[in-house]
Symmetry: C2
Subunit: 246 residues, 2 copies
């Protein structure tokens, strides 16, 4: 058995930015053919996102006295990943605060919420409309609002107001997978401008528009045959790193 | 909100080695009160075990030409954690081979097995009785056979034969949580002698008998209130490490 399948791809083959349809097909394959569980994938991705945050913003480099991070969670999968990210950041001694205005009734989401609550992570009951309060209270904002599946939510409340506030935020924003008012493929040149983008599994088409400082891919868990089938040409992850900067 | 709860414990408070009853109570609390999912805990623990393996036996230090690792999986939770450990080691470019003679019919176990199969991890249909074949073919053996719950399995076949073979193995053995022919509390002075022990959540009483080279605790994910309630006095995990050597 050779491990050549996991070695560096030829430098000539560029990383691919996948379409919405490909992203959905990839997820279906992971769930149905490879039999990954939803809970399992959300746990892996949330952990990977927290690791990326610690790489760009190590605890000791945070400008505020307290290592506070605001995590804004949407109603679907991206929000669940945000909850896991928050829980992991807490174990790394960050002080996450969660804003999760539309809670899913699904048991898995409830359980992820309870885990955070029982780890004494505070939940905000509303987002301050005075943006300066956010800039002053937190070092970072994690945008776990809307992912691949939720673009139709954008114009709806409370998301329209929340995205409006997020556009004015001056502290760094870390977006999970898709910046939240961007289209998965077309992006949004007028949208929020995250400093960090963490592409889950593989970068989506919109990521070509990303002009922030750090773009990570969190897809080391992806079986090689899937990477090959979707011609992802992912960069080599070093050592035991679960994310790679591109 | 202070993060002092996560800081170093007073050096005077020794790490506790918990009883079987405490281990069961801790697990029940994680599942029922903190609402962790079984799939979620198994994923976290399997990942942590793979990380510990990479720390003691980095890819480049393995004596054999191929980075082979044999993972022996039992019928219950320890075996499932072994499957996740194997999958993670594969993504770190190790070449795991799995021996999993008594497969659970539970869907979660089946899914974890399929994930490994579809990542081209070979499964052995039997364990060579000629121990030299194991010593020659693999760099390491991961003992994921019997955990806290499965001591009654020890005397039964195929486990009695497998444990007999494992006792003769000369390459390093890494035991997950409880070395497989040890009692959770009393240990077993005549039992297998792992070079590495990875205690999951917290060390069990038997671990006082461990005389191998490296003892890790994989319990960073444990909510602080649980650590406090069970007076675990866990050592400080550095940076974003998920395991700590004690």
């Amino acid at each position: 058995m050779s491990n050549s399948g996991f070695e560096t791809k030829d430098e000539q083959e560029p990383l691919r930015f996948i379409s919405k349809q490909e992203a959905e097909a990839l997820e279906t394959e992971l769930l149905e053919d490879y039999r990954f569980g939803k809970q399992q994938l959300i746990e892996i991705m949330g952990h990977n996102c927290a690791m990326a945050v610690t790489k760009v913003y190590p605890l000791k480099t945070l400008p505020k006295k307290q290592p506070t991070v605001l995590i804004i969670c949407g109603p679907e999968v991206n929000g669940a990943i945000g909850l896991v990210c928050a829980r992991n950041l807490r174990t790394y001694d960050y002080e996450p605060t969660i804003f999760y205005p539309k809670r899913s009734l699904d048991n898995m989401y409830k359980d992820l919420t309870i885990q955070c609550e029982k780890m004494d992570i505070p939940f905000l009951s509303y987002l301050p409309t005075e943006v300066q309060l956010i800039n002053d209270a937190y070092n970072l904002v994690v945008d776990a609002v809307l992912g691949v599946e939720a673009n139709s939510e954008e114009g709806k409340e409370p998301w329209a107001t929340i995205l409006g506030i997020m556009k004015q935020i001056k502290i760094p924003i870390i977006s999970l997978d898709i910046p939240s008012d961007w289209d998965v493929e077309a992006g949004n040149t007028e949208g929020i401008k995250p400093e960090v983008l963490i592409s889950l599994s593989a970068p989506k088409r919109c990521a070509v528009q990303f002009s922030g400082k750090h773009h990570f891919v969190a897809g080391r868990f992806l079986p090689y045959d899937i990477q090959k089938k979707f011609e992802l040409n992912l960069p080599k992850y070093s050592g035991t790193e679960c994310v790679v900067e591109i």
